[in-house]
Subunit: 545 residues, 2 copies
Amino acid sequence: MTSVPATGSTNPLVITDFLYRARDLFSAKTITQYQDGEKTFGYTYGEYAERVLRLAAALVDLGVRPGDRVATLAWNHYRHLELYMAVPLAGAVLHTVNLRLEPDEIAYIVDHADDRIVFVDTALLPLLDATRTQRPGMQVITTDGDGDVLPNQDGLIALANPLTTPVSRAENDLAALCYTSGTTGSPKGVGYSHRALYLHTFTACLADGHAISERDTVCHVVPMFHANAWGIPFAALMTGANQVLPGPHPAVSDIGTILSQERVTYTGMVPTVAVDLVQHALASGTDLTCLRALVLGGSTPTPELIRSIEEDLGIRAYQGWGMTELSPMGTFARPPRSAENDPQRRYDYVRRQGRLLPGLHWKLVDDTGAVVPHNGVDSGELLMRGPWVAERYFRDEHPEAFADGWLRTGDIATIDSEGYLTIVDRAKDLIKSGGEWISSVAIEQALTTIPHVAEAAVIAVPHERWQERPLAFVAPESGHTLDPAEVLNSLTEIVPRWWLPERIEIVESLPRTSVGKLDKKQLRRTVENDLFVDTHNGSVAGRLP
Amino acid sequence: MTSVPATGSTNPLVITDFLYRARDLFSAKTITQYQDGEKTFGYTYGEYAERVLRLAAALVDLGVRPGDRVATLAWNHYRHLELYMAVPLAGAVLHTVNLRLEPDEIAYIVDHADDRIVFVDTALLPLLDATRTQRPGMQVITTDGDGDVLPNQDGLIALANPLTTPVSRAENDLAALCYTSGTTGSPKGVGYSHRALYLHTFTACLADGHAISERDTVCHVVPMFHANAWGIPFAALMTGANQVLPGPHPAVSDIGTILSQERVTYTGMVPTVAVDLVQHALASGTDLTCLRALVLGGSTPTPELIRSIEEDLGIRAYQGWGMTELSPMGTFARPPRSAENDPQRRYDYVRRQGRLLPGLHWKLVDDTGAVVPHNGVDSGELLMRGPWVAERYFRDEHPEAFADGWLRTGDIATIDSEGYLTIVDRAKDLIKSGGEWISSVAIEQALTTIPHVAEAAVIAVPHERWQERPLAFVAPESGHTLDPAEVLNSLTEIVPRWWLPERIEIVESLPRTSVGKLDKKQLRRTVENDLFVDTHNGSVAGRLP
């Protein structure tokens, strides 16, 4: 028996299945649209599916061919969610463009992806000016316009008949494409196959993962232009969860209103937004206990944020860690059974980046490429591979980011004996002081445990004797002031003396990238331009050991 | 861009990954062995993995080649669980043989599978006599013997070094093989690819499915020779759940002890065993509220059983439906969110066979092959396909069970607008009376709602005028007697008059197949042999409309 027949091998893993599943099993479940904290629209999965199938047929009629890229430049709204399914159904690749980028960056990305059509919110049209000049043949369709000047989504839907069968795709064909904002160099494209997103969706619904289920109402706070909103829209469609979309420019007070009004059970967000949400909810008395899970991701939350979500709001906090290159989820921090009933231990687990998701593989390697043991102490660069981990960038650029089928994450990490990951630093953010490495993340975490410190960022500055030394930027909680000398004094009791920053700068707030991560690139520029040195009163010299 | 590179396409979906995951992330989690209700052995996942890797190397040393079949004839114990992983790691196909079959049936199956090695519990050796005579070249290894007469598993493990890398397999290669007991004809082999079992395992861990997680302690009551114990051992390994094995011949009182003593959170079983367990728990005052879920599968539970599990024991009851050909899960009956807090509605959902698992496809067809609508009323034969649905039987036998890539389940069913499946009958168990179909299952369900009826089975008997008429076999609850005329009288109030059975036979208990399903074949033989007619007092003539 050399060739043994396989079970189910002729059924490809394609995400377009989820649309039919949503329509056939969950036709009465709902999608609800908010804008500025007010409900503006709502429909059922049945109505959603009907519009999606018409939109997919319209795309085919417009001449979209299998594998073509169709871009979106849009906020979190139901028409964007329609494109999430209609584009793959038409056999094309959904390219979600980050609306927080500059027009020239957008022009670069759209051109690099060779997008054939762009769907754009009318309010965002100016962001496309450079692109349109550069690509006159590209079709521009508004998601929400009236159709007078440019064709619009509703117009396409009104004229089309529902697609009868999805354009056939193999499971390894691309379904979506995202560009990483990247902190260095040009943006890099990450193509997601149907298979990758399909398996990633299952992972999002695991009881040990985000655990998205039919019983959930999920609110998409994570931008839909950012790594497929963590893949949660696909998970919601697959399980039949109700979905709520906050619309353009949601203020944190709007998010509070939406979560509470729609009795949302699951949401995820970056820690910065969560900090504001907690503050808002406490100040306004908004009850958010409808949430069974508030998942933090995108950057490392402070222990205080986790404690506050759990104790002050009475909500379970979790952490997800990932990258655009991981579709985007790589780990999930959920306390193990042994810690479930002990709040302090629970927070201690959620503070870390969590356990590897089933299906993925990882290893830590040192500078020589040798494997580093998983003992919770030794650190190394984290390498990953698996069915939803990128093995190359779009157009095969940047091959140096991959090694023998492994993605080099660029993160320095430890893994403990229970398999919990702790990201120590970005490889390029480590501080090399006197031949030893100092973790900028560890100092940041320590700084945020000091009373009235809201957030902190640490970067390396050149030093004659020690090669590099840490420099800290610290922002106070609103309504408070900080004295750099006192902050340094408090820090002395928490970290080794030789970690103490060369200088502590008190700033009003920290710069963030377009996806809400600390923008250390900008902080480094600030220092290179010497903006702070000698001109700023809020700094203090650190003491070397 | 005709050929777009895929994400993660070079990482095959192979179940051997789960062993490494269990070892690396969950080394301290436990596997506990019971026998006759007493704990006899226990070890950690770390120790389990070490033994599995040695056993796999031993298999390779024995000359097992990729794709070879290695059989097990064993109860639910830790050495059987070792073989679940060691055989695929050695590149071979795990063939679990049903120990409730007759020796000649076992001989047929082992020969048909061309098993190269059989691992067997010493106590079960006599079941292999016929096979060994027929296949003198086949190696026989005892799981638990002392190694004096035949080699034994511990001996192999002691002599081998751990396998350094798993024998490479493609995801569409077979990992396991089961034979369906079948109610007609010879047993049919169903081969499971790595890919099928891998995806099936993810499904078992979905929040909307069995929801197996790291927080669980699962007890394998379902025999490990029966459709991979519903795939739960693989799910436990993947998530790091603690596992408990009840050992050979567990009595229902032993199961009660184990569940309560080990604080088991999840278990599954056939309704017959669950009926006895409920009765035992109530009589003995055994507290089983440690269970977060008791899943019923293998045959349709009565509404009374579901009510009793929920109300008398205080445990959530669920129903899973599947077939050996579905790896084995096809649907899961979990109440939708809208019914969660209404016990009556909840039971009503769990009574049905549930919603299609994500990844699978289904349709109902009538006699002409035309699609039947999902309106909860019209019934048709259920056809299924998907990544873990058989597309052929082993050695390509019985092609008539498949049509255009669909598996013909042989079940007559309805599907309602919410996507809940109700199995109306096996195609061959429908009763054709006067040109109309009567569902034997519907009459059985109605009979079990009558006080003191424990179980019921309905078959068709030939009838001169009406072509076929129902005949019912009814067993009373222990300690009670039933009067057939009274039963018929009660039934009159529940079902249409023309459904009323021609005759009601009171029997002590109903015959079951080796996997605990109602054995209607045996009941039909009873009738054909006229054992009951005119010689039995416990029958009553039904009245035709």
